[in-house]
């Protein structure tokens, strides 16, 4: 593999930005946001340069590495801190730095009234650096550092307005649930090291052939646990809704476009493990299928525009995970959906931020309505993202999502039919809840309060939205034209035998569009014909109530994990106090008791001491006398 000396700049630039802004403190308030944006953009330029170099090389020589320094060296165990840029990494690098830079630009205006804007940009740069390390690390251990780094940045940014206790709690919740997933990743690394003796991607790939299936399944399941934590997949999905407490650009960058897709990256990167462990691969598909329905159902009931989009993110990542679980046929489509989703979902989140900006930070869609006239650019860009997520041709989602649905149908047997139906139904529900968001926000009669003065956002905000909207329009076609992305990524994956086609692409597209049409029609009947209540109605069916409470995921976690956990800690605390502290205190008490008993001897009278010495001396002499007799 070729070596390079310039990969490190991708990470070093934003990392330096973060360090400068944090260390310079308030002195950099005036120019901090400009520096952070410039560094993020320069990282993007380095990424483009690397892409151009990569395009200039032949297929086999495209991956390049750079060794930074020897990180761990214990006996035969050596880990270098080194970076690797291959066809998969470069997709992520460009997505992270590209979308990241657009969101930096957007944030300059969005956060302009915030006194802590500099700190916000420092954290954004920190996130970019950590995420780049995640996708550039050449071993699971290097990836793990980035993995923790994005978790930290996510925590800091969700709790950016931590003066509100609810927001601080949300960031803590995200952090703790992510820790559960991180534990999975560390277990996977440990199993890999114990069974294969290496943790680098290339080493593990070579060792897969002579490793037992049981070990591979173990690694696969642990990697899946890691992916569910970071990507908000079932059963560790509950944090994503609350993570919307962070500023909207954060939701767009971290909790829609990049960080939450790290799980998909992990599974795709570990394709050699999952291909050799069918059980783990099946679990991946099941998790993806459950989550895509789970998120879609939650999305139908949310009145908070950001939470509706978060539920949609969860559902769309479910599609990606499902695609990645379908094996070699699905990896490229999972990545394609990830890239297109990065465009349209980030665009829609920025649109939601723009709406909130014009509406005094109101997030309740029932208080919106008729904003189309007041925010035409936001409406247009949001609308393009909307068409993209629905999968209307020729928008991006049509190419990426339909490919996943088609691959699911053609994955063979009953599994294929079930997965196909789930993905198809998911597409219908997606159409329903996204149409609901559009109708409630942009059409109908206005329902806002008198204080709200909706207005279009400044150009610094609508420009990134417009660029992302163009991406939503074109990225699908560009990536799938002549199977561009599939061919680009194919050297990384095992070649696969063609499956017998159950349904042709045309039939799948027809079915998907029919489902989408049904979804849109139901939403129109429900929300466009009737007046929308400004306050959420309470006389709703049990299903709506459950969906509004995130399908009871918090209650489930509380009943199954939190409360038994609290009982366990209470028992442990009691045990600690009674047994361990009790033993220590008991020893002390014995010493104390014997001490106070002996203290009686110490009268302080010299004469009694003298008498005792005398008695002792006499006793000693007597003893010697008795012994020597």
């Amino acid at each position: 593999m070729m070596t390079s000396t310039s990969l490190v700049y991708l990470i070093a630039l934003p990392l330096a930005g973060s360090a400068i802004l944090l260390l310079a403190g308030r002195r950099s308030d005036k120019w901090g946001h400009l520096l952070a944006t410039a560094l993020s953009a320069s990282s993007f330029v380095v990424g483009l340069y690397q892409l151009s170099l990569m395009l200039g090389r032949s297929t086999g020589e495209r991956p390049i590495t750079q060794k930074l320094f020897e990180w761990i060296s214990v006996g035969s165990f050596k880990i270098d801190a080194s970076l690797m840029l291959d066809q998969l990494s470069i997709c992520f690098v460009l997505l992270i730095t590209g979308v990241g830079t657009l969101i930096h630009i957007y944030s300059i205006s969005y956060m302009s009234h915030d006194p802590d804007r500099r700190r916000f940009f420092a954290f954004l740069n920190l996130f970019i650096a950590a995420m780049l390390l995640l996708v550039l690390g050449d071993s699971y251990l290097n990836l793990y550092v980035g993995w923790e780094g994005v978790g930290l940045a996510s925590y800091l940014l969700i709790g950016f307005w931590n003066q509100k206790p609810a927001y601080a709690t949300a960031s803590k919740k995200a952090f703790v649930m992510n820790r559960v997933g991180d534990m999975g990743l560390s277990f996977a690394i440990m199993i890999a090291f114990a069974t294969m003796g290496t943790v680098s991607f290339s080493g593990v790939k070579e060792a897969v052939d002579h490793t037992s299936t049981a070990a591979l399944t173990g690694i696969g399941i642990m990697l899946l646990v890691a992916a569910t934590g970071k990507s908000a997949q079932f059963p560790l999905q509950a944090w994503l809704g609350d993570a919307m407490a962070g500023p909207t650009p954060v939701s767009a960058l971290i909790h829609a476009a990049t960080m939450v897709t790290a799980g998909v990256y992990l599974i795709t990167r570990s394709n050699f493990i999952f291909d050799a462990a069918p059980t783990a691969q099946l679990l991946v598909v099941i998790v993806g299928a459950i989550t895509l329905m789970f998120g879609a159902l939650i999305g139908t009931a949310k009145d908070d525009i950001k939470k509706a989009l978060a539920a949609s993110t969860m559902s769309q990542i479910g599609y990606m995970i499902l695609g990645a679980g379908l094996g070699p046929v699905g990896y490229a489509f999972a990545i394609m959906h990830l890239l297109t989703h990065g465009f349209f979902k980030a665009g829609m989140f920025l649109g939601a931020g723009s709406v909130m900006h014009g509406m005094n930070d109101e997030v309740n869609m029932r208080k919106y309505g008729a904003l189309r006239k007041f925010m035409p650019i936001t409406f247009a860009t949001f609308g393009l993202g909307y068409l993209a997520i629905l999968g209307v041709p020729p928008f991006a989602g049509f190419y990426s999502k339909d490919m996943i649905i088609e691959t699911a149908f053609n994955s063979g047997g009953a599994k294929g039919i079930i997965l196909g139906c789930v993905t198809l139904l998911g597409a219908g529900i997606t159409a329903f809840y996204m149409t609901r968001v559009m109708i409630l926000t942009f059409t109908g009669k206005s329902r806002w309060d008198d204080e709200a003065h909706p207005h279009e956002s400044p150009w610094l905000m609508w420009l990134p939205m417009a660029i992302l909207a163009i991406g939503s329009l074109t990225s699908g076609y560009l990536l799938s034209h002549g199977d561009a992305l599939v061919n680009w990524l194919s050297p990384l994956f095992e070649n696969h035998a063609e499956h017998a086609e159950l349904l042709s692409p045309l039939v799948v597209s027809g079915l998907a569009l029919a489902m989408v049409a049904i979804g849109i029609a139901i939403a129109f009947v429900k929300y466009s014909r009737n007046e929308v209540a400004a306050v959420a109605p309470t006389d709703v069916s049990i299903f709506t109530t459950i969906a509004r409470q995130d399908l009871l995921q918090d209650r489930f976690n509380e009943a199954v994990f939190m409360q038994p956990g609290q009982v366990l800690t209470a028992v442990l605390v009691k045990t600690d106090e009674a047994v361990i502290d009790g033993a220590v205190r008991g020893v002390g008490r014995i010493a104390l008791g014997s001490g106070s008993a002996l203290r009686g001897v110490q009268t302080g009278f010299v004469r009694s001491y003298a008498a005792l010495i005398l008695i002792g001396a006499v006793a000693l002499v007597a003893a010697i006398w008795v012994v020597t007799q």
Binding site: T603, G604, F605, V606, R607
Partner: protein
């Protein structure tokens, strides 16, 4: 005369001294009793020197006298200081270590 009689006398003197230390309260008297015990020991040393026919015991007796003289100097000084500060030479009054 039987040398053992000197040893009996020594034991008697030592016992008187020891009982005096334990039962008397006046520091001066206690001090004198200690001197009595030291000299009882000296008598034993000298006696054993005589019995064994060498000078070791007598030499040690001189050592003891030197030590006793030093002890008197220091001890009396302490007793006088305690008397000055506490207006009492009773050793039972000087039981401050207890508290």
């Amino acid at each position: 005369m039987d040398a053992a009689n000197y040893l009996y006398l020594s034991a008697l003197l030592f016992t008187i001294g020891a009982v005096g230390v334990v039962v008397r309260r006046n520091a001066i008297v206690v001090f004198m009793c200690i001197e009595l015990m030291l000299n009882a020991a000296n008598l034993s040393f000298v006696t054993f020197s005589r019995i064994n026919g060498d000078l070791n015991g007598q030499v040690i007796a001189f050592f003891t006298m030197v030590v006793a003289a030093c002890e008197v100097v220091v001890g009396l000084a302490i007793i006088v200081t305690i008397y000055r500060s506490r207006r009492s030479a009773s050793i039972d009054d000087a039981s401050l270590l207890k508290r």
